[in-house]
Amino acid sequence: MTMQVEVDESKCIAAGQCVLSAPEVFDQRDEDGIVVLLEQRPGAELHEVVREAAGLCPAAAIRLAELVEG
């Protein structure tokens, strides 16, 4: 399974939930804490924490597409 992550900077409110859950995949801009995506296609070992981050995002700024390769 592959996972594709998209973030919407315009929706982001810099709550910081995603960096707390998955710092390998998400970072924050220094000046205002807006999300920075580090990894568009995180490895399988990170899928669970990325799902957690997307679920906890209060502004629904993280979109995940999970594709079964075949």
């Binding site: 315009s10 409110i13 810099a14 910081g16 960096v19 924050q28 220094d30 209060p58």
Partner: protein, 413 residues
């Protein structure tokens, strides 16, 4: 006929539960008994508030998530039908300018982004040594001084107050001034004159401080705001107001969590032992989330209004109807948290609504988390025999405040 209909409507309103309800003295950590069944049985209901109006009362975790995230759900308190917190809040409406609290997107986004810089994970993590030092200093002073001691004044209030004043760049010596006016400005029982006076005193002080920082900037939030004033992004009064928001939200909330959390843990020694006996930051972090869930100190209901008709959980909320989202209830929803009435520091609780949800979720939540992790993670390890120096029945709870907590917590060891 119209009269009969109106009478029927009034009778129906009179039979609805009043919100907010009082907690029982025997269960100071739990939501009121009549609220406890709501999340599972009636996650969307109605309640009667102080002005006789009957807004929707949302107690289900999933229903709250949906509504908090819906852009048709507004915080614009100028909308007719908005379910105000109190008579005083309704009366002072025209004196309250647009802030991060009562603005919808896109204005909200602009305000929010001026405030979020100091609260990134990196910035907050960098404060750990400073927070640890204040905490250790305060505990040293407790151990060296007489006992019993009031934990609120000895530790719970000073730690977040020092942090937020340092973050802002205002001198700690003014903290009593801030505490007094900060509390009055948001006290729902304060008269309109009192809350206006306090807000004015704070805004004036901070406006002067921002102007001073324009000439002589340092590495702090007031200097950041001063730079934005210089750049023409914001006016001095608006910048001062934002600083007030941070100040008020930044100290009493964490202080309440520290003292109330300690009281809850002292009632459940096996849970306190989990914190006392660990050095694992993950265990401490999970414990903090559970205490945030269990205590949910923002207990007077988040107020909103529907801008359009909204279907949620089989009900239709009509445009113009008020909505109250009761955070403590959602955090005791058995669908989201199995055995919700149990304090279990080992559970996974990060999806709690203690900081709210949606675009207005707490700006300072990462700082609050670190403060609580350090204080809970240090206090019980350094004073393992900590105990209450009075009876639980003697403790006075902040039932009347926007943020729940205890007024005093006499402890000894």
């Amino acid at each position: 006929m119209a009269d009969t209909l109106a009478d029927t409507a009034n009778e129906a309103a009179a039979s609805l539960p009043e919100y907010p309800m009082a907690r029982e003295g025997r269960c100071p950590f739990d939501p009121p008994a009549a609220m406890r069944a709501l999340p599972a049985e009636r996650p969307i209901s109605r309640a009667r508030i102080w002005d006789g109006s009957t807004p929707w009362l949302i107690t289900g975790h999933a229903e709250q998530r949906t509504l908090f995230a819906d852009p048709r759900v507004s915080v614009d308190e100028h909308q007719p039908g908005f379910p105000h917190q109190s008579h005083a809040m309704a009366e002072t409406l025209d004196h309250r300018p647009l802030t991060i609290f009562n603005a919808d997107a896109p204005e909200h986004t602009r305000f929010r982004r001026m405030l979020t810089g100091p609260f990134t994970l990196k910035r907050v993590e960098a404060l750990r040594p400073a927070i640890q030092k204040i905490t250790d200093d305060r505990i040293d002073a407790m151990l060296a001084g007489p006992k019993p001691v009031d934990l609120v004044t000895a530790l719970a209030l000073p730690v977040p107050t020092v942090m937020i004043t340092e973050l802002l760049g205002v001198p700690y010596k003014d903290h009593e001034f801030f505490q007094r006016h900060g509390v009055t400005a948001v006290d729902r029982d304060a008269t309109p004159e009192q809350s206006r006076e306090s807000s004015t005193a704070l805004v004036t002080y901070l406006a002067e401080a921002i102007v001073a920082k324009m000439a002589d900037p340092a590495e702090d939030v007031l200097s950041d705001l001063a730079a934005r004033v210089k750049a023409g992004e914001v006016t001095v009064p608006d910048a001062a107001l934002m600083a007030v928001v941070l100040l008020i939200a930044g100290h009493e909330t964490s202080a309440n969590m520290i003292a109330l959390g300690t009281l809850a843990l002292l009632q459940q020694p096996e849970q306190l032992a989990l914190l006392r006996d660990t050095e694992d930051p993950k265990v401490v972090a999970a414990a903090v989330e559970e205490l945030l869930r269990y205590l949910t100190i923002a207990h007077t209901g988040q107020r909103r209004i529907a801008l359009e008709d909204i279907e949620v959980g089989g009900e239709t909320i009509r445009a113009g109807e008020g909505i109250i989202l009761d955070l403590p209830s959602a955090n005791r929803d058995p669908e989201a948290f199995p055995e919700p009435q149990r304090l279990d520091l080992t559970r996974s609780a990060r999806h709690h609504h203690a900081f709210g949800f949606g675009i207005h979720q707490c700006v300072g939540q990462l700082l609050a988390r670190v403060e609580l992790q350090i204080v809970y993670g240090t206090l019980y390890r350094r004073i393992p025999t900590l105990r209450l120096a009075t009876e639980l029945e003697q403790i006075e709870f902040k039932d009347d405040r926007l943020a729940y907590g205890v007024y005093e917590l006499p402890v000894t060891w």
